[in-house]
Symmetry: C2
Subunit: 136 residues, 2 copies
Amino acid sequence: MYGIHLLGEWYGCPVDEPLLTQADALRDLCRRAVGDAGLTIVGDRFYQFEPQGVTGTVLLAESHLAIHTWPEAGFVTVDVYVCNYTTDNTGKAERVFKALELALKPRRKRFQTIHRGGKEVIEDEPRNEPLRVAAG
Amino acid sequence: MYGIHLLGEWYGCPVDEPLLTQADALRDLCRRAVGDAGLTIVGDRFYQFEPQGVTGTVLLAESHLAIHTWPEAGFVTVDVYVCNYTTDNTGKAERVFKALELALKPRRKRFQTIHRGGKEVIEDEPRNEPLRVAAG
């Protein structure tokens, strides 16, 4: 269940770009980017804010894409998270991310990669451990 | 547009728990947790894998919740991302996260908090930005 999660914050996107302002346009872009990369769509949901702005997700067999736009500020956040259950999907996730970036044209950006899952476990949850009682 | 993104990986969840195996049950839990915390739902989408497993998202006015389950492994990943556009929603995000954790009963877990957005831009070409992780 090891997976990789790409997180972007994009600043300085064109404020009148329909991809930032219109849910249908952004949905089409996201579905196309995911399909072109060879990931498998199992559903999507996009919401149109008034007067502008979009929030949306594409559910993938491999996990999800999520995107939020604030057109008035030229600001976008994007998440592309893929599990690598049966194959390494990292390259596909990077293709999706890059396609969206090229379309939304940020002038400045932040990017983080989060590695998720994996076999090792960092921390135990002591509250859920069995109660140990020593008989007196 | 400053926001906070809580990421969890939960291990050792009960493998026969309907919340892990059935999309409708998990959807109800997620919507209830979000509503109880005082966040605003603007849509959702959940997908039922066969023979088991669920992937789903709840779109929020404040951003999104995303969850993926692998019941055969007792494994779940969860994301709760809220922007703090007009008010600080961090406490509400933490309430949602905690409610899901209590319901899904992980025996072990990893937790990361990612700070997103903000007015300042750290760098123009951020490909090598160091990962900022707060272990929970």
